[in-house]
Amino acid sequence: MSDAPPKVVRVEVDGRPVEADSRDNLIEAARRIGVHIPYFCYHPRLSIAGQCRMCLVETSDAPGRLVPGCQVRVKEGLKVVTTSPAVKENQRGCMEFHLVNHPVDCAICDQSGECKLQDYYMEYDHQPTRIRTYKLNKPKREIFGPLVVYDAERCIMCTRCVRFMDEIAKEPQLAVVSRGTYSLIATFPGEPLDSKYSGNTVDICPVGALLNRDFRFQSRVWFLNKSPSVCTGCANGCNVYVESRGTVAYRELPRRNEEVNQVWMCDEGRLTHHPVNDNRVEWARQGRGDAAETIGPRLAVERAVELLKPLAGKGGIGIYISAQSTLEEAGAALLLGKELGAERYFLGGKPSGDSDDFLIRADKNPNARGVKLAAEAFGVRIEERPPEGVKALFAMRTDGLSDAVAQRLELFVAAAQNEDEATRAADIALPCMSVYEQEGSLVNWYGRLQRVWPSVPAQRGDAAPGWLWAERILVGLGFTHEVKSASAAFQLVAERSADLSELTLERIPEQGVVLPRLLPSEWPKRAPRPPAPPPPHAPGATPPGMKVGDEASGGSR
């Protein structure tokens, strides 16, 4: 594939001129002017299979013959017709053949509502089928791995999942077995599909063949409300959509962000909605261990103020901020510490886990850099050890705290999201909203500031954002800080920090902004990350060294 610099090519689609990129295929060229050429097996970031034949169009180069739109590159002066009767007839025929053996599962299929077969059927083939035959039975609900379940009858053999595992996840665990109409996708006998990125195959599967076992039968997609957010699984800060209904968050889908995670996401990220749903601190309470009794949020804040007031200014107060909290919560906690004259500040979080060279970071806390940034903005030294040497402690989220630490403290006030041994040992436990329920911003390992929108709109018990609890305590102590919204909390940090000075919460761009000062000094010594695949306008450019066609998928065709 020539690496000539991309130049502008003039093409005509349905009589309308288009300035396409020389690496575009016909589908991308048509998409530039809003003409939708249907496709199943083509994917902008995967190699070309040309298997589903849905995207056949007529071109001036090959008159009287239909050409696959995904494989053919644009050529200077090429004329493309996408609405001729032959193309329409082919689209209808394609749909009919795809649907011949398709099971009548729409009522119980999770993909119903976002399935491309349904959408294309209504647009291109809205008639009963002409093929009178029995449907072929294939294995259904085969467990492939921890996250993926496969239904061979629904599969239309577009091999997107196979190509994804070969090219992007680089662990070829899926392949097409058997031939002809009996072919289906399978893993190596005895080996599960246990790659860390197996969840992405569920997203790119155009039908309901590959399903997410965690989300299966949980909710219908048209009841879900989708809002953009950032994954809290690790420090990589992959952009996601969190889908929720009422008070429950159901699943995370990757959101396109070229620099951070293109359109992919790891499997742990897809399970980060469980801490939002279960084992939550829901009601503000007072008293340690089993002496705890639920009191209203206002009462809890008054109790906390009573306990903190005598210690204010006399030292012996520590502020613990977990790296799971957003920048706003960190700022509010630091402000509370400054007002209370706290001596020691501690940073903690979930223990670090494994990492790899693509999307997974060792540091399992989304906002470690953000809390450090806030600490520098407030000019305080923040220690990364479990808190000790302080009598009273205010904890913004108790992720890294152990029970022993909490027992040694005289006074322990905690704004916590999930129940753990630290919250059981807290004098005052204030329910804190999760990152998916509040507005805020996070800084990922690379120093990219990214914005988070609330996705689970329903109020969960007394839950409130962490910065709101800190603000209530400040007001109780008599300080007048107007922190009435997330952007006001963001301003707390932005005023004091150099590189956030000209930013406000609303002005953070959707793709996030990289803070130059925070760039890692040297590139991590691990294997270099794969070059980001070419932007979507160049589908033809398969990653270097990747063979195209038969060899790519093990010569199974």
């Binding site: 509502g113 491309k116 009841f223 409300n225 953009p228 009422g246 008070t247 359109v263 689970v456 979507p536």
Partner: protein, 220 residues
């Protein structure tokens, strides 16, 4: 013969007509706001047009014309995810006011359309020409907040005077009630807990926002 009507209108008031986007056999003329009264008087009195029957004055709010899919219920629920609310790209001109006219003798129909920006929503009244416009203009004012300059009694007709806001605008939630009499609050047993979509705020079948704020072509 309605096409003749358009030509008649063009040659008598060439500068008043902006465009004539006819659709499915309906003749439409987009009229400049300042020339509306003049054009209406001409259409009513001219024997060739003779449009004596003002059937209806209707209005459309084009805020979500491009983005609203079937599941646009996120807009309808009271607790809208902040992302959706914030990312409503302003659409200008936002309001269309449509005057559906008809002739009893000549048996033809015409629709005049006035396009309004959201910051200045004033339209000259036509109550001087057709007396039936009085109530229709009050209806459009009540539902959309379009002010008809010179209307004798421009007050709310459907809603009660204490009602805040204009209900048929696309950013007014479906279920935002402003009760006049203190109401007992019953738990909404049908729709389940929480005000979010699917919760008490929005009926079960109308909440799929899925594709509303996702760019389907980017990476599916």
């Amino acid at each position: 013969m309605a096409q003749a009507l358009i030509d008649l209108l063009r040659e008598r008031h060439p500068d008043a007509i902006v465009s004539t986007p006819g659709h499915r056999g309906d003749e439409v003329a987009v009229v400049r706001r300042e020339r509306l009264v003049e054009v209406c008087r001409f259409l009513k009195e001219d024997p060739r047009a003779d449009l004596k029957l003002l059937a209806q004055i209707a209005a459309v709010d084009l805020l979500t014309y491009a983005t609203e899919a079937t599941g646009g219920a996120a807009l309808a629920s009271i607790e809208v995810p902040a992302y959706d609310l914030e990312h409503k790209r302003p659409v200008e001109p936002r309001y269309h006011v449509a005057y559906n006219l008809g002739s009893v003798t000549k048996k033809h129909r015409l629709r005049l359309r006035v396009e309004l920006r959201s910051d200045d929503m004033k339209v000259p009244t036509v109550t001087g020409i057709w007396r039936t416009a009085d109530w229709w203009e009050r209806y459009v004012y009540d539902m959309f907040g379009v002010e008809f300059v010179g209307h004798p009694n421009l007050t709310r007709i459907m809603m009660y005077p204490e009602f805040q806001g204009f209900p048929l605008r696309k950013d007014y939630p479906v279920r935002k009630r402003q009760p006049l009499v203190p109401e007992l609050d019953f738990p909404d047993l049908v729709r389940g807990p929480g005000p979010g979509p699917g919760g008490a705020g929005v009926p079960m079948s109308q909440t799929h926002v899925g594709r509303a704020n996702v760019d389907p072509d980017a990476y599916d």
